[in-house]
Amino acid sequence: MIPSLPSPRWLKATTLLYLGGFLLFLFLPLVTVGVFAFNDAEYPAPPWHGFTLDWFLGNEASGRVGLFRDEELLGSLWTSFVVACWVTVLSVAIGTLNAFLMERGRFRGREALSLLMLVPLVVPGVILGISILAFASRIAELVNDLAGLELEFLRPGLPLVVLGQFSYIAAIATVTISARLKRFDRTLEEAALNLGASRAAVLRTITLPYLRPAMIGSAAIAFLMSFENFNTTLMLVGSDAPLTIMMYGRMREGATPVLNAVSLFLMVASALLALTLMRRGERRDA
């Protein structure tokens, strides 16, 4: 059960075995994806035909279009990146604002509002997508009828994708940042005020630096969630497909290992991001 209680040998062995199996289950798909990015074959499947970098570097001439020559794939990677940046900035900004409102604000309806902010977390992404799609279209129609204007950004496309992802990622950022602000010791602010700091200075020098780890953490989560998002995006996407949508389309058609290559690229990028964040976290603990 816990280390201070005696536990039989078989239980320890079973625990270790289970843990091993669990980790295998977790990493097997990822390792497979990575390995087959280097297979010298037209399809990501066994047997192993030898090592190649074609799926990264190949061009039209070699008959295999590698990741770095695949304009379509690179374009969707860039689209995902731009969308994720927008979603991150918007979510962290509103998450921070919400945290202050919910933890510090004194107004009627605060409790109700703070519950409402959690609602996006329990609405399935597909439904967020279709509801925003339908609502945006209705407004676009209305404006078109009344003013004769065609509001392009309310039609399926990247602006709607950003809004759709933002609608629930903002809730995640709010929860993360609020949780940290709640643990903040307000006497620190009082002490700073007592030492002659203005309210703005207290915010800048005491409160925001305290919140920074949560803000960075929720920025990373927001970026990742946006990059990975599929359900909401699927409903709102226009002609420019972000990476997940592009990959989905190709996977249905039976893809070449270039998808493994781009996946490996994503894994390495994610791992680097994770490592950077963890190192930051450790330095803070030290």
Binding site: T32, V119, F230
Partner: protein, 293 residues
Amino acid sequence: MTGAAAPRLQARLMLGLMLAPPLLWLFALIVLPHVDLAVLSFRERLGPGEYGRSLEQYRTFFGEPLYWHVFVRTAVMSAIATLLTLLMAFPVAWTIAKLARGRLGALLLVVCLLPFWVSETVRTLGWMILLRESGVLPQLLYHLGLTAAPVELLYHDATILVGLVYTSLLFMVVPLVNSFESLDNSLIEAAYDLGASGFAILREIVIPHAKPGITAGCIVVFMLTLGNYLTPNLLGGKNSQWFTEQIYTQFITRFNWEQGAAFGFLLLALSTAMVWLGLKLSGQRFGDVMRRA
């Protein structure tokens, strides 16, 4: 100072300014679109540009067995996936929170979370390469002589469940680890000291203590599974019959928004009902549980 009115007005103005963005977010992107979706679902197209109120969309759903079969199937499969996820995550979360000490526990948690830094698309691709007829596992089984010919492991219900559990583990492990960590070891020692067996400790101490975490994990996993599109669609192929696919078909393929809206609303109702039921059964409050998750 001429009076207290000016600063108070300023404070109210400030509050109003701060409240504007969150209200815009919640109403323009969440509340109003859902109201609009509800309105849409009660609409019927009578002719070109001509609409009337009706329950026609919901009647279609209950009248057409295919639709509600898929609906029930999605709910049941999601429930099974949630239960499996809980069973798989429980021992791992316990090991991380209670057995591994200090840095080892933290490291183990990071290792367990690592796969979830990669998108679901990539993870699903991995399963497809592993499981399809020409894939790694069928070939391995064939070469080991365990099967006479390579078998297709994709497009089964079990495949869908594997994919769903895999995708959901993170959302179960994290709340479980948190609630196990907050369980004071001295409670377990005290129970043991008073003569409780391992099973009794689990039933009387651990599960009652971890109930909020278990509820939070189950609610989130169930909801995500119910609303999943990618995993059932790619791993289940034509056999997946997932309700989100019906919504997609109505909305995007057939452009029948009224019917799609009704389906969306039914899915939302089911999801909300299960969240509510989970909270009722465990006696939790929505706000507490969501903040925990």
